[in-house]
Every structure is written in C-alpha cells, then in structure tokens.
Subunit: 198 residues, 2 copies
Amino acid sequence: MERIITIGREYGSGGREIGRRLAEKLQFAFFDYQIVTELAKRTAFAEEYILSIQEKRPYPVLPVPTVRMWAPPNPMLDQHLEVFLKESEVIRDMADKAPCVIVGRCADYVLRHRNPLRLFFYADIADRMERCRKRNEEQKSLNHDVLRKIITQTDKNRSRYYEFLSGQKWGAKENYDLCINTSSADTEKIIQCVISLL
Amino acid sequence: MERIITIGREYGSGGREIGRRLAEKLQFAFFDYQIVTELAKRTAFAEEYILSIQEKRPYPVLPVPTVRMWAPPNPMLDQHLEVFLKESEVIRDMADKAPCVIVGRCADYVLRHRNPLRLFFYADIADRMERCRKRNEEQKSLNHDVLRKIITQTDKNRSRYYEFLSGQKWGAKENYDLCINTSSADTEKIIQCVISLL
C-alpha cells in the first residue's frame, strides 16, 4: 500500500477537508500548515513571509533546476529558491517519518521518486462558491463577482507556484493518479473511492 | 445509485476493458459496438460508413445545434448530422432499457440530463503502447514511432468527434466525475474505486 498520499485541489473544492478525513480514517499523519511552521523553524524566515512567497510566483515559469542553471545573480530569487528547496527538504523528512497525507505545496512533485498516490480534487464553480461561503465567515457576505475573483486568483497562484517549482501544469490529469470531481459524490463515498485504490 | 455509467478513454488506456468488467460486476448492460449495429439497423447506412464518420470529424469544431442553426445547405453535412442525431436517439433508448455502462460515442454528453457517472480513463504513453501490443496481433510488431502515431491519431479522432458533437473538450477533467490513471493501479482496484463512488 502507498504510504504517501498527496493532494492537489482547486480552491473551494473541499480537497483539504477530504484529505484530513482520509488521514484520520487511514490513521496516517496529516500535513498541511505544519510544513510552513517547520520551515520557519529551520530558516530565518517568518511564516508570513514563507506564505507570501508561496502565494505569488515571483519569476517566469521555469522549473527550479533550470532557473538555477542560467539565472544571473539575484539575491531575491536566491532567497525564494532557498525557501523552495528547504520546503522540499521538510516535505521529504515528514514523508520519511510516517505514512502521511500531504496537502498542496507541490508534494506530488517533490516526492515523485517515492511513488505517492497523487490525488487532485476539483468541483463546479457554483459548489465551490457555496463551500467557501459555508466555511468562511468573511466570505459569507461577499458578492458573487468578488468571491469568484478570489477563487480564480487563488487557483492562479497555486498554479503558478506549482509550475514554477515543477515545470508541470497544475491540475493537468496526466500529473495525477486520480482526479475527483467533488460535485459528484459525498465526502464519505469519495474517501472510500480513494481507499479502494490503495 | 446511478443507473448509467459513461466511459471516455484514451486509446490503449484499457478503459473499454475496465468498462466491460465493471458492467459484469454490477450486472449492468454493456454497450459499445452494439450502438453502431443498432444505428445501422435504424438507418440506411452501413456499419462501416457510420464508423468512418465517427472516426473523422468532417467539419469545423462546432456543437451540432450551432451547426444546424447557420450552416448553408450541404447534403454531406446533413447526412453526417443525421447519423449523429440518430446515434443519440439509440443511446437514449438503450439507457432507458436497463442500467448500463456505455463506452465512448459522446454518451456522457448525450445523456447529460440523466445524471450519468462520467468516467475518463487515461495512462502513461509507455503503458498504452504495451497494452496495444499485448491485445492486438497487428500492432505487436509495429515499431515505436508508428504505434505512437496510431495512438495519437486515434485520440485526435476521438477528440474531434467529441468536440464536434458536444462543443466540449474531450478528456478535460471538468467534463467528468472521475478521471483515473490506469497506470497507477490494477484493474480490480480501479473497479472497486468506481463502485465505491456509486
């Protein structure tokens, strides 16, 4: 059985929550924000700074190894790369410790040589908006266009971060073992569906 | 439980065989080539002619209703549209009769108002080539480039047919409930995975 499950997900698809419950059911460790906390401990960077880097890809889409080969000296890029590379180290260390579910942070790519089960969750935009309103007090009262823009922008940031680090297209089914439309079934069934594949 | 399962699949991904075994397990009817046979019975067209239309989209990518609205008189297009529309009728009739698994033929789009479980199967190119060689005596001895070209061309034809009929992108995960990489798990697990979602 795979000991590592990685989760990519569209904003508002419920993928994070499914990952948490999947980990609970399998008695796997669950890593999400803990990665940032651990990364902050290992570097001189504040958690907020790390998140800000992850939220906006600062440079053209090129996988890290390519950038490292030809980029001219640039202290800002070097700092960002330091965060990316340290984060990969944290992810690998966490995956070494115990069977785990890891949400986001390009873990499917970072751990590609360890044969993780790579999941991607997506959903219809209407369902994603409804889920955002339900789970987030601040988003409850936002109008349709504003909330939609937040969703689109968050996905764009995730996509840029993933592409910057891996050189692969975020959400392209070829990069995953299973892509699940969370609009199609309830969470319990989806969890069973994933477990059947292990 | 959904009574209709539709299957889209890349050539060589094993999706058809998974569909057949899934139908067997669920005791659902299994429709694949039968649709062409039934269509030939209901029209004046030979099975070979029907297949030749389905293999090559003759006109620009536009969903059928759009074409019908503005296209100038064109007997060939009309004949092709007659096949497409009759085929949709056959698919709807078959889906009415019994719970079923339907492979290809844009069934997910044709039956979209009946809430089918829409599956799409894909796989790594190396696995697809290996599967083609195993199951097809003629393809066994083909060289790498020739076989790869056959796979690519077949997918292109499926994609054109799907886009012509539905106006949607073939294989884009948004159009399916579950996309499964058949390189990732064995057939039995994949079948269990699908059944868990019903």
